[in-house]
Amino acid sequence: MSVTFKALETILERYPPSSEHLISALQDVQAKFNYLPPEAMTAVCDHLGVPLSRGWAVATFYKTFSLEPKGEHDVAVCLGTACHVRGAANVYEKFRRDLGVAGPEGTTRDLKFSLRQVRCLGCCSMAPVAQVDEEIHGNLSQRKAGHLLKMYRKR
């Protein structure tokens, strides 16, 4: 989605110009565009009256925010303790291999998937767990992880 003045304005309208709303406003931008476009950051900081440096400080501190465009499907693999003791590390590696993501986290070149780690989705009874977009998939094995990606590729 391209960054339009109108889309930004509807977000900014919700917040009075005060620094306390910085995180909430950026969360709205993130939800709208799936990342924080630099022009949106400037607009939010200008509107709230906070220095741009503070905006970037917040954006790089919290995991919620992404500075780069994300893939179509968000694959969040849980590496919480319960998942870890049930073999989540191997499952995560399987996702990484199949998606061809070089670093620990990342987005595929075709912008189809973004792979990331989360620490506990709170579904420990079904460990190991991964959340793709809004859906939670439990009791994963490497094999199931492979099938899961195939299923989402087709969507």
Binding site: S19, E20, H21, L22, I23, S24, Q27, V50, R54, A57, V58, F61, Y62, K63, T64, F65, L79, G80, T81, A82, H84, V85, R86, G87, N90, E93, K94, R97, V118, R119, C120, L121, G122, C123, C124, S125, M126, A127, V129, E134, I136, G138, S141, Q142, R143
Partner: protein
């Protein structure tokens, strides 16, 4: 419905009871996140559709999680004059079959897990018996839920309404005695009396620290400054703990009522709930609860005609573990990066926006209305000398009955794992339990007789924490676990102070050496002394408790570290540098499953011939081990 007086409360309660226990059949589906993840939405949709198509004179309703996550999706049915019955692991197909019988007025036998004879309703209105006379047939044989091993030791106080009410229905909450404690506090008690009750009850903070709640309230009440803030910490970041999420999703008004009572006691009119954005359902449930409380007049100006005013805002967390720390949480609400500050000035004096602020955890708040309603002495009778009341634990990991359990303080680890949890699956052996998240520690089998309370756990090197309990068996390597927690903490360290930022990294490097079979016994000592330095030198509790997983594993499992260093062996066969995969030709029957699964093409072989694994190509991903149905892949 406006609730502005005692009469209104009574009326709401009457109306709520009619809705809660109508004179017609009712089906309840557990729709907290754990239920939804297991497929409860489809079950709910199906039952609703069937009921509508049949113009059924009954109710299909959602409810929260009663704690038995392992058996989700759970479906309950209440037919008038019959015991309430609970069905386990209900798929849409099973739900269809259940529906046929229920619609015909019969109680189905299939998938029946337990029956509930009496609804305790601990606050008001109960106990309420569901039926009179004697049960016959299979129902008489079905265990009562309190007789199941999973529930036998449990006592639901904070979770009193979870699994019994529709969390979005304010009247359901009032029907079970909700907001009557607030009325009592506002009309019959002075703020000091409220604080005295909470202090006498012995309530200690459920979020991790275990600080006496009444003492905190009293200091905040005394503090000079205006306005004062009442905050709720719902930034549940501990991996393996999800009791706060479940409480919010199952009974949000209990938290609001607790905060209202706290605000009255402290003298505050503004509140914040800081909740994890990773919990979308919990956030929505809270928003709806706040909205309906405001509509009813239970939040806002002149609550229940007492002159007391209070309102609550929600702030979403940004996914930073350190924001569970009080000063970091407050910085985050102010719109700043969540960096903690030194606490020589307490937050009860100067907290949010430098004003007196009182922060308590979700579970702590949920306990408050019970203390006010039932009295401090009632509450004091539960638990141990130093730790009163109950605590919710998330019992997860290598244990059969995974779920949320609320037990009186003082229950032993052994009883919790073996009785409530049903032991370790597949007859493997219990090795250790990890308590308290990344700030806690691993407690070995030798100490599993330990009663679970704040002080005993502290002495054993762990902490109560928020209540995550991860059971580990002999397939878990303790060096790997220590490394796992350090990875987490390095990632989550805010970087403000050096001991935490750099000390943890150096500790991680040492552990990396050990898990590669390198290092020396001297390095072990260095790890130990570095741990102590990080513990003493860090600014906040995140760094101060970060070495606990390392220190406890060193204390109880030193020989496992030594096996890595001296013999180059990982006894649990986890650390990749020290293990090799091979195929046992005697057990391999040549099914070729592993050949197809191996990403490296390292396994060769034809059908019905034992396969061969080329170790030089193997990346030790374990895919072959996972698919082999004959146990022919050895890891050593």
């Amino acid at each position: 419905m406006q609730i502005t007086s005692f009469d209104d409360l009574q009326k709401a309660k009457g109306e709520g009871l009619v809705q809660l226990y109508p004179d017609k059949p009712k089906i309840l589906v557990g729709m907290a996140t754990c239920g939804l993840a297991a497929g409860a939405q489809k079950v709910y949709d199906l039952l609703n559709k069937k009921a509508q198509e049949a113009h059924w004179d009954g109710v299909v309703e959602k409810t929260g999680c009663i704690g038995f996550c392992y058996k989700e999706p759970l479906v309950d049915a209440v037919l008038p004059g019959k015991p309430r019955v609970t069905y386990e692991q209900v798929t849409p197909e099973i739900a269809g079959a259940l529906w046929e019988e229920l619609a015909a007025g019969k109680i189905p036998e299939k998938q029946l897990m337990a029956r509930i004879d009496v609804d305790d309703m601990i606050l008001d209105g109960g106990p309420r018996k569901f039926y009179q006379g004697k049960l016959k047939g299979f129902l008489a044989q079905t265990p009562r839920y309190e007789d199941l091993d999973f529930f036998k030791l449990q006592r639901h106080i904070a979770m009193r309404n979870c699994g019994f009410i529709d969390p979005d229905n304010l009247l359901h909450y009032v029907a079970r005695g909700g907001y009557f404690a607030l009325y009592k506090a506002l009309t019959a008690m002075t703020p000091d009396e409220v604080i005295a009750a909470v202090t006498t009850a012995g309530l200690r903070g459920r979020g991790g620290g275990g600080f006496p709640t009444g003492v905190k309230w009293a200091s905040c009440r005394k503090a000079k400054g205006w306005p004062k803030y009442v905050l709720c910490n719902a930034d549940e970041g501990d991996p393996g703990a999800y009791m706060d999420r479940s409480l919010i999703e199952g009974d949000p008004h209990s938290i609001l009522e607790g905060m209202l009572i706290g605000a009255y006691a402290i003298g505050s009119s503004e509140g914040y709930i800081y909740v994890r954005a990773e919990y979308p359902l919990a956030v929505k449930t809270l928003q709806r609860a706040i909205f309906s409380a405001r509509e009813a007049g239970l939040l806002g100006q002149n609550i229940l005609g007492s002159g007391f005013s209070f309102d609550i805002k929600i702030n979403l967390g940004g996914g930073a573990f350190v924001c569970g720390e009080s000063t970091a949480l407050m910085a985050s609400i102010e719109g700043k990066p969540g960096e903690p500050r030194a606490k020589y000035v307490h937050t009860v004096d100067k907290g949010l926006w430098n004003r007196p602020s009182n922060l308590n955890n979700v579970e702590t708040w949920a306990n408050v209305p019970v203390i006010i309603a039932k009295g401090a002495d009632w509450y004091r009778d539960i638990g141990t000398e130093g730790s009163k009341g109950t605590k919710i634990f998330s019992l997860v990991g290598q244990v059969k009955n995974v779920g949320l359990v609320e037990v009186p303080m003082g229950v032993s680890i052994k009883d919790l794992v073996m009785q409530v949890g049903g032991g370790v699956p597949e007859n493997r052996e219990f090795k250790a339990i990890q308590i308290g998240g990344p700030s806690g520690g691993c407690i070995p089998k030798e100490h599993w007789g330990l009663p679970i309370d704040f002080d005993s756990l502290w002495d054993a090197g762990a902490i109560m924490g928020s209540g995550g309990m991860i059971v580990m068996d002999n397939s878990t390597c303790m060096v790997d676990v220590a490394k796992f927690f350090l990875d987490f903490l390095i990632d989550e360290s805010c970087g403000k102070c050096i001991p935490c930022r750099l000390g943890l990294k150096r500790m991680r490097e040492l552990l990396e050496e050990f898990s590669g079979g390198k290092g020396s016994l001297e390095d072990l000592n260095e790890l130990e002394s570095l741990s102590e330095a990080v513990k003493d030198g860090s600014l906040c509790a995140l760094g101060g408790s970060a070495p606990n997983p390392v220190l406890t594993t060193l204390r109880y499992f030193r020989e496992e570290y030594e096996a890595h260093i001296l013999q180059g062996k990982c006894p649990a066969a986890v650390c990749k540098d020290l293990i090799t995969y091979s195929i046992n030709p005697e057990l391999c029957n040549g099914c070729t499953a592993c050949v197809g699964e191996c990403p490296q093409g390292a396994i060769t072989g034809t059908k019905k011939e034992p396969h061969l694994l080329n170790a030089s190509l193997c990346i030790k991903c374990g895919a072959c081990h996972e698919v082999c149905k004959f146990g022919a892949v050895d890891v050593a």
